[in-house]
């Protein structure tokens, strides 16, 4: 056995360029698989942790989607309203907090500095539901809400952008609004700054400012009680399913259909994510399989050439007493060794590329993660390819007629 290993290595070493070229298909295939899977895995982990940042007891109600799927689909607007929020508050025992959200992008500024921010109009509950923490000043209060106060809490990045080193608390920022052709500016007093929080699924508090729902409804959006979404939290994460059913009851009673609203929860997003990942993995797997098969055919081709070239050598070996089985194993081992080495190189390159991707894409906060499973699968697959595509050339070699083989020039 050890002689077969040494002989295979020697045989592969005797024509290094050809060996390398014949491995290229497998190397590229394995490298691609490892890299792509690691990016996919990293992204999934990233998204998963972002979803988890929402909190497992958070339930978001959005307007339903009408008119098919894809681009044709449009979100129903003007469906949900503050009265729904009230009903949910009163009729859902397992909902501990609920808040309306009105959301719009707008120009905001202070003196000469301005930027575009997401204006989130909501009630004080939003801070608890989304776990929005304050670094300076205060959160919204019920008094702000009742008195239609023009106060604002700034997201971390927004505060940085318009105030820089200056103290924002107590300053008045403007929110600029386009009504018809004219644009008007409303002043809001900064009463608090949020910590840097990262994204909370569909909300990005760092790029947002939060103002009282009442004053936004009256003075900015003129939305007459309509809301974009309703956000709620269950009294515990175990009860989030029950809380969702209770909310569904309320909304179904009002609309008489389940089509006009939909739920977003950590669980439902996870499910969608898992489905998407499964589909993605399937396609990646298919591409990987094709590239490995193509690589395998390359290996078979080179092994067939090698058998032809070594016909006389095979004849000599048979003449001095090698069994056909031995010839068979020599060639199978050689092709397995070939693809195994290609697999190792591919795995190393794949790890390298995924690290490189991470460095190059560090701006996008892209993480990659090479799993042991993908390494094991890459090893297994490349070895099996060598075995599978090596069998035919090897059996051809082992079936040569010794006299014919010896006469071969």
């Amino acid at each position: 056995m050890s002689e077969i290993i040494i002989e295979s290595i020697r045989s592969l070493m005797s024509n290094k360029l050809r060996t390398f070229l014949s491995m290229l298909g497998i190397i590229i295939g394995v490298t691609a698989v490892i890299t792509v899977v690691s990016i996919g895995q990293g992204t999934t982990e990233n998204v998963t942790s972002r979803i988890a940042s929402l909190g497992s007891n958070v339930i978001i109600v959005m307007p339903g989607i009408s008119g098919g799927s894809g681009r044709a689909a449009t979100q129903l607007s003007d469906i949900l309203s503050v009265s729904d929020v009230e009903k949910i508050r009163q009729m859902c025992p397992n909902v501990s907090k609920v808040a309306p959200i009105l959301q719009r992008s707008s120009n905001i500024g202070y003196e000469n500095q301005n930027t575009v921010a997401t204006i989130m109009a909501s009630t004080p509950e939003i801070f608890d539901i989304l776990n929005l923490e304050i670094s300076k000043g205060r959160k919204l209060t019920y008094e702000d809400e009742e008195n239609f106060e023009n106060v604002v809490i700034l997201g971390y990045d927004v505060a940085q952008e318009i105030f820089g080193d200056e103290e924002p608390l107590g300053k008045n920022i403007y929110i600029s609004l386009n009504i018809g052709n004219s644009s008007i500016k409303k002043l809001f007093k900064v009463v608090g700054i949020m910590k840097k929080l990262g994204s909370k699924l569909m909300y990005r508090p760092d790029d947002s400012i939060i103002i009282p729902f009442s004053s936004a409804d009256e003075r900015i959006f003129y939305s007459q009680g309509k809301v974009n979404s309703i956000i709620a939290s269950a009294d515990s994460s175990e009860n989030s399913q029950i809380a969702m059913i209770q909310i569904d009851q309320v909304l179904y009673d009002r609309f008489d259909t389940a089509d006009k609203y939909r739920f977003i929860s950590q669980e439902s997003i996870m499910e969608t994510l898992q489905e998407t990942t499964a589909i993605l993995s399937f396609f990646l797997g298919a591409i990987a399989a094709i590239s490995l098969i193509v690589g395998g055919i390359g290996i078979m081709n080179i092994m067939l050439v090698s058998v032809t070239e070594r016909t006389r050598e095979i004849g000599v070996k048979l003449a001095i007493g090698a069994t056909r089985k031995r010839i068979l194993w020599e060639f199978i081992f050689e092709s397995v060794l070939l693809t195994f080495i290609a697999g190792v190189i591919g795995i190393l390159l794949g790890i390298g590329f995924s690290k490189l991707t991470e460095i190059l894409a560090s701006d996008f906060n892209l993480k990659t993660s090479v799993s042991w499973q993908s390494i094991a699968i890459a090893f297994g697959a490349s070895t099996l390819i060598g075995l599978f595509f090596g069998i035919y050339p090897a059996s051809k070699a082992s079936k040569l007629d010794p006299v014919e083989a010896l006469r071969y020039e």
């Binding site: 050598e313 000599v316 070996k317 048979l318 001095i320 007493g321 090698a322 069994t323 056909r324």
Partner: protein, 231 residues
Amino acid sequence: MNQKVVEFINVKKIYDMGEVKVEALKGISFEILKGDYVIIMGPSGSGKSTLLHIMGCLDRPTSGKVLIDGEDTSKMNDSKLARLRNQKIGFVFQSFNLLSKLTALENVELPMIYAGIEKRKRKKRAIELLEMVGLGDRLNHRPNQLSGGQQQRVAIARALANDPPIILADEPTGNLDTKSGEEILKIFKMLHESGKTIIVVTHDPDMIHEGKTLIKIKDGLIEGVEVLEFV
């Protein structure tokens, strides 16, 4: 010393090439006794190489029986035949047929690898054999670093690796100059004296001079068997 090492009983070999059938051997019977030095002679195309290949179990006869060391080869499967080639027969070819990637030493070791002999033992024996054929200082040379005569001596050492009783050679001096040929003849003579049975296909008059028995072949048939007595 009258033990039969090779026995042919009405051996025929027909090459079926579709339209035409070539009858290379048309029914050959003879026997070779242990320790003989047999010269096979005949015109080109008369079937000498075919005969030698069948004798060396590289090929099976179309009909007839071949007994090697008393064993009927027609009843053996491929792996039994491989073992027989490995243990009982040493082949020496006109064109040496060494493996170009291996050193002289490794070429000689090869039949012993197939015989399953452990590394140290086979290396020792390979060195002894190469020293015997006068190549003790060429152990790690590759075939392309050796002269024709030296290559043929490595091939003889390889044929002797598993100490087979029978040495078959197909024009072993055919590709060599007179001087190198003479060295090969000396080695064959020595092997014969040590008790090996030697069967050589050759046109080389010097080699014929060394032989003890002459088998003449013509058109796939034995034309005559002579006992050679040179004084």
